[in-house]
Point group: C2
Chain length 431, copies 2
Amino acid sequence: MTSADVRATPSASSRAPRLVMKFGGTSVGDLERIEQAARKVAQEVERGYQVAVIVSAMAGETNRLVGYVRDVNRLYDAREYDTVVAAGEQVTSGLMALTLQKLGVPARSWQGWQIPLRTSAAHGAARIEDIDTAALDQKFDEGLHAVIAGFQGIGPDNRIATLGRGGSDTSAVAIAAALKAERCDIYTDVDGVYTTDPRLVSEARKIHQIAFEEMLELASLGAKVLQTRSVELAMRYQVPLQVLSTFGEAVGSDMAGTLVCDESELTEDKVEGKAVSGVAFSRNEAKITLLEVADVPGVAARVFGPLAEQNINVDMIVQNISESGHTDMTFTVSTDDYERALSIIEAAKETIQFQSLRSDSDVAKLSIVGIGMRSHAGTAQKMFQVLANEGINIEVISTSEIKISVLVKRKYMELGVQALHKAFDLDAASA
Amino acid sequence: MTSADVRATPSASSRAPRLVMKFGGTSVGDLERIEQAARKVAQEVERGYQVAVIVSAMAGETNRLVGYVRDVNRLYDAREYDTVVAAGEQVTSGLMALTLQKLGVPARSWQGWQIPLRTSAAHGAARIEDIDTAALDQKFDEGLHAVIAGFQGIGPDNRIATLGRGGSDTSAVAIAAALKAERCDIYTDVDGVYTTDPRLVSEARKIHQIAFEEMLELASLGAKVLQTRSVELAMRYQVPLQVLSTFGEAVGSDMAGTLVCDESELTEDKVEGKAVSGVAFSRNEAKITLLEVADVPGVAARVFGPLAEQNINVDMIVQNISESGHTDMTFTVSTDDYERALSIIEAAKETIQFQSLRSDSDVAKLSIVGIGMRSHAGTAQKMFQVLANEGINIEVISTSEIKISVLVKRKYMELGVQALHKAFDLDAASA
């Protein structure tokens, strides 16, 4: 682009680039930490960004407020829950704006209803429906950086609606998309996304770049660093996300964390690289097997219909080859839903028509994830071999284009994760 | 009124009578107390009222939030201060609504911006400018009682504005006026307004009824039970106010507290009754005397102009008879402003032209208040005699139609209050 091009650019694109910086609860846990976070914002402002800061409630505050609500009335009205709980982010937004002002950064706070950030009517777990950026744009043009209370918006009933736990990440991504921000930096208490949980595998390494699809699989499979919903949103709106530590020296523009972006934007040579980007695991699994189910059309609906009606999510499903008109059907649910699932299935025994039921909540799920799998043949075979070499029996298998999950006895979980991490060249030494 | 009249009444007047119930910080200090307050609301709902409950922040919460703001940035932006501090009332409003729901009372919370309750732009000390009751009316018609966050509204800039400390009383009275409520009950930690402070005079009695004008004088003179501003507002809009205890058994409709109302509404026989309704006092006084001030036109402006410019409130003013073109001028200020007032006067010595200055911060103000004074001649004379009998010298006198204040040495304050309380037949025994 020549300088003549730049001059010809309409005013909207000659705006300063925008950046969204999101700070979670521990990152704004007290006034000192708020100041530490504000200094990072000031650094990015100095680099020329118009910054929208998204803040959570101070650590512990949401729990305190939720505790009040539950203590008052266990059958709480979600609209009142939202009114009470949103106060946490409101306080942080004002304090962050004041701290930025003290550091010489012109800033003001915004509540969801002031923007407005409109949500669905589902109080307590609302979805963002529309973000009107006109008022924000105007204040940016006046030189005011924005501090936005995360986790909240305004419902169609003109009342405060919250997005559900972890919703501040979702707020941040949605606002980044609406503001056409260059990037959305999620500051947290870890310095990025790891190849697996470092508490389980000391050789785990930080991933510098990862594709949206891979991050989505890892988040769904139990990596807690980013909410599944926020990754989905980032992928849909193509907002590059970066996960990085509030407590380190670097800021987002130093690219010191894990960048989650479109596959086409990855600068590391993924194709020639590894088949697998990360190993995920979940202890929170239970297996249910129905023996000798009548193998007739509609049987799956008869099994899973009653579970879906009760909002029980079924994860892996395996149906064996039919013998003499009967089949065995195995599926997994989260341990939280395990007891309820069992009693629902028992109650529907007549309708489903099965001989007997076996169940096991002493299982775990191991998964390998990587877009490299597409071009690396034999990844599944290698995974099964690695586990076999360790004497680990595979009970259920489920795959997608960029993920393979297996169910194993829980006692083998740690061993399995370590073996897979090493076998797929993820250990720090082999990086 | 016949039953035919009742049927002919238009729908607006056939509405249930309305009641405003305001609970202060100690009355909603924890969940147990919120429930205690909610039970009082439920009782009034049972008596047929549409109730608007005005709540303060839970005791201690406002101080905590104000502390955060001051710790962050002493030169705080009042708009951010308001955003942070208003969160306290927001939390209580949600919790109160939930508690009412638990007790079977249909209710919802309202923030200032939802009503909307519009204020001036003076963030941190905003004035209420307009209350649109359309949305409240509609919800009342749907059977929903209202829980309104006190102390806050929305400014012309679409941002939360608070009314300043104690503003919840003002909210309550303004909302009572807008809703045309039958009465505004202020629930607090004392059971009414007393003839004087019971901590000073054990014979002090609770006043059952008092006129707005008297209450206004008592509030201005230091009775802390009601904010001056809220009494002014109640008087202007003729909203009967009742002060009563949250911790007693009775509710407002039992008329167990102190009713503050228009003189014409007083049912107790005030005319034949006592000249004096209450004795007020203030330790918070300091006296400044300018000796040999040039007695020329404009001298008062030269003295009080510089004080007014610095927002120093001058209370009592006495100017002696002029001798040979000079006069002595005495005035009082609050002890908080005393040092500043002295240095302002010293700095303006050239302009004012006075010989010397004497000051004394070891004084107190005693006042008697009563609409009965108008019809009882010789009340001032009696007050002076009572004090003289106790050997108490009067330094400055200031009067209004229904009030006489005198300045005395501080050491005589208690003795003076007790003597006046007894002499004007206010002791419990003589009631």
